[in-house]
């Protein structure tokens, strides 16, 4: 992995700004987005209420904790979510990727910068408003303590980068495939499930729970949430945070190597 093209920070900041500004075009989607997220959480509210009525000690979490888990999970999803896998695969399939390849800047670095810019926009337009609505309507826990909140925030930055790094790799597969829709959709559901967005990892049945220990996905939602709720503390918390960031760097490095080998196979159509 070379650093050529990674060290030009002013250019990367500019890509971040573009990510931010381009989101403005979709303003309306964010107003409806807040509503969608509220409805999602409400559905889970009734499901979990039914489950907790039958078993009040379910999964080692109280009902309020579970409701907090679900709500915060959706709130942070609004932050880390991005479409760069779809964007990159489209650019590859339509051949627009040439203009990115002709610039003396690392495509992955520029893409991650853009994704961060988007996330800043989402934070302001979607994450904070959704959080305000959900905290107003439901009885949600605040972070366990200020250290937990700090660790949660660091984990959250990690999950934005994790999602972006994974999406970058998945989108890159378009070089080898004529149609990538199936892969994109599979990734979408696998990520929602294995990140712990739909249910906490702790209630996965046995082989899946152990399996997800060894995968990066749980650090997208489950690890930040455990930090938020104070279920991970002390050395355990720092360890989880460390593992998250090791995954971040490992996946960015993998993406860089993967992209390099993909560009060798690239066939640019037309023109």
């Amino acid at each position: 992995m070379t650093l050529a093209g990674w060290t030009n920070f002013p250019a990367l900041v500019e890509f971040g700004k573009i990510g931010f500004v381009n989101m403005l075009a979709f303003r309306l989607r964010y107003y409806t987005g807040i509503l969608t997220y509220f409805i999602n959480v409400t559905v889970y509210y009734f499901i979990w209420r039914a489950i907790y009525a039958a078993d009040p000690g379910f999964a080692g979490l109280s009902f309020d904790e579970m409701l907090t888990y679900v709500s915060i999970a959706w709130i942070i999803r609004s932050l880390y979510f991005n479409n760069i896998d779809v964007q990159i695969s489209q650019e590859i399939i339509e051949g627009k990727i040439t203009s990115a390849l002709l610039k003396p800047i690392d495509l992955q670095a520029a893409t991650l910068a853009r994704a961060l810019g988007e996330s800043v926009f989402r934070l302001i337009m979607l994450t904070i408003p959704s959080a305000m609505v959900l905290f107003a309507v439901y009885r949600l826990h605040l972070p366990a303590n200020s250290l937990a909140f700090a660790q949660f925030s660091l984990a959250l930055l990690g999950s934005i980068l994790l999602v972006s790094a994974i999406n970058f790799i998945v989108g890159g597969f378009a070089v080898k495939m004529k149609s990538i829709l199936g892969l994109l959709r599979a990734k979408f559901y696998v990520m929602d499930l294995l990140s712990g967005l739909i249910v906490p990892i702790s209630i996965f049945p046995s082989p899946f729970r152990e399996l997800s220990e060894w995968l990066p996905f749980q650090h997208i939602v489950y690890t930040p949430l455990m930090l938020y709720l104070g279920k991970l503390s002390g050395a355990e918390a720092w360890l989880a945070l460390g593992v998250t960031w090791v995954w971040v760097f490992a996946l960015i490095a993998t993406g860089s190597i993967f992209w390099k080998s993909m560009t060798k196979h690239m066939t640019i159509h037309g023109g």
């Binding site: 030009n8 500019e14 573009i18 390849l101 060798k264 690239m266």
Partner: protein, 346 residues
């Protein structure tokens, strides 16, 4: 001075798979595919010196764009060697990209959603162009291309002519010593074409920028390029100057003669004895055809002027379109064509 671009035995093969016909064929294709090699660029070699403007022409599917893509580093050759600006384009793509400019007529290099000036500023950051240099160059470009009027419009709202002017400016913002243009004038009106040609000529003259351009508009070549390469079926058929090409392919020359009065026709007919074909166009004008090997044009003209009363004499140049049409259709230069000059590569 060492060449700016050096290409040796460049080959690019694509593997395509043949689809079988029908439903049963489609099912068979799921299990075993029949692949076929298609050679888009076949053993191409050339070199380009500093400051040259070279036209790279050929019919659709000849391998022009594939060559350009390999030269710019976005496509990996199957075999052969490229050295451009001292780099191996695809191996050192990121560093090489700093030293070249690329314009694709069919595809903008600008960011679609943002204003032109934002694209330029982003390029300034990417190429790390100092502010003073950036401003100086932009105002310079504005003189010929008149960019200022639409600098704040998003790229997607520009007309094709405006977009191309911006694209050409964007490719030269970091003053690269080497510029590739893939059909830069495609679909443009005459004003936009002229403005882009003038601009390219000026950049070449002032900065010694080396340029390689592909085009289907042969007037681009006539106006810009001292040298042209013709490629077809992945092979270079001709590499040299335009006048030399015309001379080589057109052994037969024509001279149009306008007579003062009808009676002069008899005088003119005398020349048909000497290996010159005399054709009547109308009452007062005739066309003489002759082979340059047999008849010296200067000598012929001198004699006509002495012996016949003429109003006007015109040596008729073969239009480049006609020359190129003959090459593309295989009437000339191809190995299997009749009357092929063997010294097609001077």
């Amino acid at each position: 001075m060492p060449p700016v671009v050096e290409v040796e035995n460049l080959v690019k093969d694509f593997r395509t798979f043949d689809r079988r016909e029908g439903v049963w064929g489609a099912i068979q294709d799921l299990y075993s595919r029949r692949y076929r090699n298609f050679r888009a660029v076949d053993n191409v070699s050339f070199s380009i010196g500093q400051g040259e403007m070279v036209g790279y022409i050929g019919p659709n599917g000849a391998g022009k764009s594939t060559s350009i893509k390999m030269l710019t580093g976005i496509l990996v050759p199957s075999s052969g060697r490229i050295a451009a600006n001292g780099f191996s384009p695809w191996r050192e793509r990121t560093r090489y990209a700093r030293t070249i400019g690329v314009v694709f007529g069919q595809r903008t290099q600008l960011w679609w959603d943002i204003g032109v000036v934002e694209s330029f500023r982003l390029l300034q950051k990417i190429y790390e162009i100092p502010q003073a240099e950036y401003e100086h160059r932009l105002s310079k470009f504005d003189e010929v291309l008149e960019l200022k009027r639409y600098l704040h419009t998003p790229v997607r709202k520009l007309s094709l002519g405006e977009r191309m002017r911006c694209d050409v400016a964007a490719a030269l913002l970091h003053n690269p010593p080497l510029l590739f243009l893939d059909e830069p004038t495609i679909g443009l009106d005459i004003v936009a074409k002229e403005s882009i040609r003038t601009f390219l000529k000026e950049v070449n003259r002032e900065n010694g920028t080396t340029m390689l351009l592909t085009t289907h508009d042969l007037s681009d070549i006539e106006e810009l390029c001292h040298r042209l390469m013709i490629i077809d079926h992945g092979r270079v058929l001709y590499d040299g100057g335009l006048p030399e090409l015309k001379r080589m392919l057109w052994e037969e020359s024509t001279l149009k003669v306008d007579l003062r009065d009808r009676d002069q026709a008899a005088q003119l007919a005398v020349f048909s004895m000497e290996g010159v074909g005399v054709e009547r166009v109308d009452e007062l004008s005739y066309r003489l055809r002759f082979r340059r090997e047999e008849v010296q044009p200067a000598e012929l003209i001198r004699r006509i002027v002495n012996e016949v009363q003429v109003l006007d004499l015109t040596m008729e140049e073969q239009p480049i379109e006609e020359v190129v049409r003959r090459i593309y259709t295989g009437e000339a230069l191809h190995d299997d064509a009749h009357g092929t000059p063997e010294n097609a590569r001077p």
